[in-house]
């Protein structure tokens, strides 16, 4: 009873019975939005449909003259050039050249970068001294150095590897260092309390702990390495898909430009997918 009195006084409607229903305010009725998933075949069919439509319209436009085939080329010409590129042209030499410089640069840059990042654990002083240089190199557009690299390393494979390495190195270094910095100091304390040497802490704690970070950049790095290799070929080279694109453009062979770009993107996709697969495999191996 006492509680009711208080409530009554508070609401200022002493003894008045509370309204039985709340006055009806028209509230919009809204249902949870549902995003219905299409079946997989429908997705794939639509994707193929879009591709066919774009190619078909392109060809049609070129035939009727709506699209200037001199600048844009046309699918039928591209298909012919593709066959010639693989049967009579340097397709395989170019692919092998670009592939090699990418892979070597990728491995060199990733390995050296990871080791550099890990090495920062050893001494805080050393890390503090080297850091500004790494950041400088990171913010520097490395491709701007490409002409210099070509001069120093020559026209061959070495200069392309060097550019690909430069692009991947910094990413690996910084990511690995981020991993090293995320290490729980108590983990080190545990190791030292067990009488560990610095080398033991490094091998048994720092390296395994940082591995997920090191692995996580592989996919980014393969793309960067390919970019480096192509830019190197743009500047000066005798082989490679980058050189093929540049050469075709300079001779107004637009169909060949498309063919080289097409082959290049196939190469990129294959490398990306394989590295992603390796990355997943490694991640599964090191995390539980």
């Amino acid at each position: 009873m006492a509680l009711q009195d208080t409530v009554g006084r508070l609401s200022g409607t002493e003894a008045a019975p509370p309204p039985a229903t709340i006055p009806a305010v028209a509230k919009p009725v809204r249902r949870l939005p549902v995003n219905k998933d299409w079946p997989a075949w429908a997705i794939v069919a639509t994707q193929i449909g879009i591709l066919v439509a774009v190619i078909g319209l392109w060809e049609l436009g070129a035939q009727t003259g709506t699209i200037d085939a001199f600048f844009w080329s046309q699918p039928s010409a591209i298909a012919r050039t593709l066959v010639i590129f693989f049967t009579a042209g340097d397709a395989w030499t170019d692919i092998a050249f670009t592939f090699q410089s990418t892979i070597y640069g990728f491995m060199l840059g990733t390995t050296a970068g990871s080791l550099l990042g890990l090495s920062f654990w050893w001494s805080r002083n050393y890390a503090a001294i080297v850091q500004p240089y790494v950041i400088c190199f990171e913010s520097l557009p490395k491709l701007a150095l490409a002409p210099l690299v070509i001069l120093v390393f020559g026209l061959g494979l070495a200069s392309k590897i060097a550019i690909a390495t430069a692009l991947t190195l910094v990413v690996s270094t910084l990511t690995t260092y981020a991993g090293v910095k995320a290490l729980d100091p108590d983990g080190e304390k545990l190791f030292y309390s067990l009488g560990a040497s610095r080398w033991q802490v490094f091998r048994k704690l720092v390296v395994p702990f940082s591995l997920p970070w090191i692995i996580s950049v592989l996919r980014v790095n393969i793309g960067l390495a390919l970019t480096g290799a192509i830019v190197g070929e743009f500047i000066a080279s005798q082989h490679g898909l980058g050189r093929a694109i540049l050469y075709a453009g300079q001779t107004y062979d637009i169909a060949l430009v498309w063919v080289a770009v097409l082959v290049l993107s196939m190469l990129a996709v294959i490398m990306y997918v394989s590295v992603s697969w390796v990355e997943r495999l490694l991640q599964k191996g090191v995390t539980h």
């Binding site: 983990g187 545990l190 030292y192 309390s193 067990l194 009488g195 560990a196 704690l205 995390t287």
Partner: protein, 262 residues
Amino acid sequence: MASCPKLRIDEVSMAFKTPAGLYSALAPITLDIPEGRFVSLIGPSGCGKSTIFNIVAGLLEPTSGRVLIDGIEATGTIGRVGYMLQKDLLLPWRTVLDNTVLGMEIQGVPMHEARGRALPLLRRYGLTGFEYLYPSALSGGMRQRAALLRTLLFDTDIILLDEPFGALDAQTKLHMQEWLLRLWSDFRKTVVFVTHDVEEAVFLADEVVVMGTRPGHILEAIEVPVARPRLRTVALSPEFITIKQRCLELLNVNAAALGEAA
């Protein structure tokens, strides 16, 4: 020296440099712990319990004083005592078994031999079926068990336990306390046990050392003359309650004194 204590903390003090000047974390402390004794250390946060542990484990150089193990100077030497930190710190990329052999491995014991020594202990002390799992698959209690066995398998006479059961739920905590006592009576190690839980401190220990803060110092060392093995119901006995009350009083007086000062 017949009465040489296992662990002697001799006039150990610690001061840290801060921007505001020298901060004294630990006033000179002297503590003797005989072999095979279970000593609990309780006190408010910031009373320097962890600092003492870090000094005894050799991870921190004291500003003054010495640490003696078996009467021999051991200040600033690592690997002399087993030290379990608050977190279990199990390495996620190692199986439970390989986590527990870490101490032996670091000491240079061949891996297969270390595993051979660890395996029966894991099985005897409640980790059967978990040996080859990764820590992420374990519950909090199981992780603490693994961490404690890692500390024990390091095979030092003295082990320091820093709030090992602090993060566990009440039920698991009780189980773990009994499990720890079983382990202790089997291995007869000298144990120093830090906790915030007064009842836990008294239940486990032969002696409870109550610490005060600002700077950290020992208020009183209280004997716990309760016979072992102890049953849970011992907590209801008058002598247990008297000791517990004395501990709480000491902690409260210290807190009140601080309140006035502030």
